[in-house]
């Protein structure tokens, strides 16, 4: 039969683990607490107006005007009502990119609203990438769900930001990531077609 169980050595080992673990436990506690603290701080969201340039990290946005109806000059005609917002976008990053899909969102969208499509006002064709440092007029087009009521005269949009991380959390590679909503924009909507307003 082996000797008596050596409680002394076990206690020593436990104490060693405890001392070694204090540092790690402290690091975990501090990072958890700081994450909770940051989440509890309300981020100030700016209120911007049409015609006011606003920097969202990757894009500088200037909202021009909004229109609702079946047809807007230069865009292909459709049978459905569409919400069209004209913007001037400038790419502030260091490479050509097409990641403006989440830039503008309605604050209270009707049920079933899909993501907008973006047209280049110059060509009246879909945008495939905007180049750095070259401002372009772009038209964001939401296809309005068929049964939904038309938008109010003043429509509120949320503007989301994008942040650049030198090293991301997965690969340590540089990349742009979706950030929080940084601004709200109230735009008057020009409702074309009396029929569109009735539907």
């Amino acid at each position: 039969m082996p000797g008596r169980f050596n409680f002394g050595a076990l206690r020593q080992q436990a104490v060693a683990y405890l001392i070694a673990g204090v540092g790690a436990a402290l690091a975990i506690a501090v990072s958890f607490a700081s994450a909770i603290y940051e989440a509890s701080q309300p981020k100030d969201i700016k209120q911007i107006a049409t015609g006011q340039p606003f920097d969202t990290g990757r894009w500088t946005v200037v909202a021009r005007r909004a229109e609702f109806g079946k047809q807007m000059q230069g865009l292909p005609q459709t049978q459905q009502n569409r919400l069209m917002v004209e913007l001037d976008l400038t790419n502030r990053s260091a490479a050509t990119t097409a990641s403006y899909a989440r830039l503008l969102e309605l604050a209270t969208p009707p049920a079933g609203l899909q993501r907008p499509m973006f047209y280049l006002a110059r060509d009246s064709a879909l945008v495939i990438g905007l180049h750095p440092g070259m401002p372009e007029r772009v038209i964001a087009v939401w296809t309005w769900p068929p049964g939904a009521p038309p938008p109010p005269q003043q429509l509120r949009f949320k503007i989301a930001s994008q942040i650049y991380k030198e090293r991301d959390n997965l690969y340590g590679a540089p990349n742009w990531f979706d950030g929080p909503v940084v601004a709200t924009l109230d735009m008057p909507v020009d409702i074309r077609d009396a029929a569109a307003a009735g539907k």
Binding site: T96, G133, E166
Partner: protein
């Protein structure tokens, strides 16, 4: 006493060395960066899968595409850089789909896809080994980025550890910007030429 001092110095040295290693660690983007092949206009550069010789760069305010009787014009807030090149695959049939214009400040402008129906555009051409083709690359740039630029050509946009051609684009200053460059289809299929006005 000596042993304790040596131990302390040893630990301090180790900490300093490890700190230095951590601070100078290359990022993921540097480790997986494509391997550059440097050259200039007129030189035949060899990548892993293709060979390219950039022959001419023309700057223009507008690009026009003529198809039949209709003509489509593309204008831009900067300038168009029209790059002509000869390219051939080396071992197998491929498509080379990535070319960008890197300005002097490191900002990259990918090939413009607005004139996507133009004949002879690089991403649309199927390259066969040993059969060189004449191709076009269209870039839209602000005028400040034309000087001291490099054209980067690689087989795909994300090509870690594959080769990438860095072609020094020597555009003479002051910039000579044409009014319009027309891309005209030839009589045979696949033929095209540039009319520069």
């Amino acid at each position: 006493m000596i042993r304790v001092t040596i131990a302390v110095i040893g630990v301090a040295a180790a900490i300093a060395l490890l700190y230095g290693l951590q601070k100078t660690q290359p990022g993921y983007a540097d480790i997986t960066r494509p391997i550059a092949v440097h050259g200039a206009l007129g030189e035949r550069l060899t990548a892993r899968a293709f060979e390219l010789t950039a022959t001419k760069i023309t700057l223009a305010e507008r690009i026009a595409l003529r198809s039949g009787t209709r003509e489509q014009t593309f204008d831009t807030s900067g300038v168009w850089a029209v790059v002509e090149a000869q390219i051939a695959a080396r071992h197998e049939s491929i498509n080379v789909s990535s070319a960008s214009w890197m300005g002097a400040s490191g900002v990259r402008y990918t090939m413009s896809q607005r004139a996507a129906t133009a004949p002879g555009l690089l991403p649309a051409e199927r390259l066969e080994p040993g059969l060189p083709r004449k191709v076009l690359m269209l870039f839209e740039l602000p005028p400040e980025q034309v000087k001291d630029a490099t054209i980067l050509v690689s087989r795909t946009p994300f090509s870690p550890i594959d080769s990438e051609l860095h072609i020094k684009a020597n555009v003479p200053t002051p910039l000579f910007v044409r009014n319009i460059v027309r891309i005209v289809r030839g009589t045979n299929a696949g033929e095209w030429q540039l009319e520069v006005r």
